[in-house]
């Protein structure tokens, strides 16, 4: 079902607020990854706040949907979504990257709501595949989402899983590539050209859906297409903008992982309506 206009507006407002809160936490930590946290905002927010069957009151429900944030450096946006779902206390964002915090720089499985540690790139899709295999063996209706970065696609292990998931017919597995076209040292074209990304997945046997990764309606339709596809896994190639929502961060590799100065923070808040 498509989102109602009213629901789409609510989610868009949540995304705006999550961007504010994530940048506030990264600014507070004086460390973290603004660019990739902002680009993945709509993807994570739509999944957690609208589509996935997850409930903080039943964290061990065997039939819960799972999400692996393969691009673990976008952890702050994951944490903000988990707070909204009630897995973590609202004030925990301020503890990001601080001693004794539940909010590690990269996701730890010891954080409520986190299904798999992540951060080292390349191995998240495989772990999601393992979850999907296990759920199928258990006869569970649960679905597994693996959210990958595009820099991450440099890692060969991603393509090991790209090859194996169709072999196992994992139609309960959906990979979503946050295709923001920028990695740490520069654009993906400069660092390691990915060339025809949809064709690559297609050649491995995946159902490929491409959409605007900041358009909630388009993303929602893509996930529904994935759910309806039988026999093969689906990859959603989501066209996104690194640093989306903050003009001076957009498309800039420099904002992959950089502390935010007080001055830049104030500018970003003004753009995002942070004082609303």
């Amino acid at each position: 079902m498509p989102l109602t206009n009213e629901r789409a507006e609510e989610l868009a407002e949540q995304c705006r607020q999550f961007r504010v809160d994530v940048l506030t936490a990264i600014h507070g930590a004086q460390s973290g990854h603004p660019g990739g946290s902002l680009s993945v905002c709509e993807i994570l927010t739509l999944l957690y706040q609208e589509l996935m069957n997850v409930d903080a009151k039943r964290p061990d429900d065997p039939d819960r949907d799972r999400l692996v944030l393969c691009k673990g450096h976008a952890a702050p946006m994951l944490y903000r979504n988990l707070i909204e779902k009630g897995f973590l206390p609202a004030d925990s964002m301020a503890t990001l990257r601080k001693l004794d915090s539940q909010l590690q720089g990269h996701p730890s499985i010891h954080t409520p709501g986190v299904e798999m540690p992540s951060g080292p790139l390349g191995i998240g899709l495989s772990a999601a595949q393992g979850m999907a295999l296990g759920l199928k063996l258990n006869g569970s209706p649960a679905r597994v989402y693996a959210v990958l970065g595009d820099g991450e696609l440099n890692e060969g292990a991603v393509w090991e899983a790209a090859m194996s998931a169709p072999k196992f017919g994992l139609d309960n597995l959906t990979a979503i590539v946050d295709w923001n076209k920028v990695q740490l040292d520069g654009t993906t074209d400069e660092i390691m050209p990915i060339r025809d990304l949809p064709a690559k997945w297609s050649a491995f046997g995946w159902n490929v859906v491409r959409c605007d990764g900041h358009d909630l309606q388009a993303l929602c339709s893509a996930v529904e297409l994935a759910r309806a596809t039988k026999g093969v896994p689906t990859v959603i190639i989501a066209d996104t903008i690194k640093g989306k929502g903050v003009s001076f961060m957009e498309g800039k590799a420099a904002w992959h992982g950089k502390a935010i100065s007080d001055e830049d923070y104030a500018k970003a808040m003004a753009e995002l309506g942070g004082d609303r």
């Binding site: 495989s126 296990g134 258990n138 899983a161």
Partner: protein
């Protein structure tokens, strides 16, 4: 009697699969060698051949374990503990997941394939990972115990298995305990603390030296992590000299683990390290390799004699 460790492992795994439907097995296109194929033929729905993709295999096992499955992951030791290491560290151990790693061809047991296929630093890597339990079976009975114990005990396990045939050492009803070692031959002058194949080489060496009037104790340290501190300290005190013996680099494995215990306790005694001396190995028949790299009965005997000279 003597039995091939990999055969015993494959058979025990299959028996366990019969008893527990949550056990699943993964292999990286070496199931005929690791003997995980025995399980695969019996339970094709719970056997996943991942192709030659070790990183994908270990990470897939990590995911499987979060759905209540108990994955046993198999390939040659050297590939499992190198190509599989990132997922072992970042997912299996950091997540304290219920994944069991079976390193099938430890040490130089894949003799003719040469240095690229020998695993001589795997214990160093696996031992340094928090949450990991490291067991090294030395015969059919201990292989059975280690496999069964790993299956029924929560957490990451690394089983250091051999391609080779080991003589029987334990009675079928022997009570093994994780975190313990076993005195498999008693003696008073020196203790050899060994694991895997080297337990047998140590016993051979001890039997030879007995003819010269030397009384050698042999400990099978089948649980390398956690390790039996009490037994190590007792042997140091009672025999006054220690020789460690392993089919592994002398750096980072059993010898290091034993030395750490002695140093922490301030209980140092003359200690010799029998193992591969920080070098790459080569292709040859297994017995010739063991002799050349000093990890046969002669190598252990030489270590014992050095330790005894220093003890005097």
């Amino acid at each position: 009697m003597a039995q091939a460790i990999r055969e015993v492992y494959g058979n025990v795994l299959t028996e366990l699969g019969e008893q527990n439907k949550d056990i699943v097995v993964l292999d990286a296109d070496l199931s005929g060698s690791t003997k995980s194929k025995v399980f695969g033929q019996k339970f094709p729905d719970r056997f996943f051949n991942m192709g030659i993709a070790e990183s994908n295999m270990v990470a897939t096992a990590a995911g499987l374990s979060t759905t209540g499955k108990i994955p046993f992951v198999n390939t040659f030791t050297v590939f499992l503990t190198t190509l599989g290491l990132i997922a072992t560290r970042a997912q299996v151990c950091y997540g304290n997941l219920n994944v069991k790693l079976g390193g099938a061809y430890c040490g130089m047991s894949d003799a003719l394939d040469g240095a690229t296929h020998h695993a001589t630093e795997d214990m160093a890597a696996m031992r340094a990972l928090p949450n990991m339990t490291l067991l090294v079976p030395s015969d059919a009975t201990s292989t059975r115990w280690a496999t069964e114990y790993a299956a029924k005990t929560w957490g990451p396990f690394y089983l250091r298995l051999s391609r080779d045939v080991y003589p029987d050492l334990y009675a079928p009803d022997y009570k093994f305990e994780c975190g313990k070692g076993a005195i498999v031959r008693d003696g008073n002058d020196v203790t050899v603390i060994a694991c895997g194949l080297l337990v047998h080489k140590a016993i051979e060496a001890a039997n030879e030296l007995e003819k010269k009037g030397v009384s050698v104790r042999v400990v099978d340290m089948y649980s390398v992590k956690p390790i039996d501190r009490e037994l190590i300290l007792k042997c140091a005190e009672e025999t006054g000299a220690i020789v460690t013996a392993e089919e592994h680099n002398i750096y980072g494995g059993l010898g290091s683990a034993v030395s750490e215990v002695l140093a922490w306790a301030g209980a140092g005694v003359p200690t010799e390290f029998v193992g591969i001396r920080d070098t790459f190995t080569e292709s040859a028949p297994y017995a010739q390799l063991l002799a050349k790299y000093g990890v046969d009965a002669n190598g252990v005997a030489a270590g014992i004699e050095k330790a005894l000279t220093r003890k005097k």
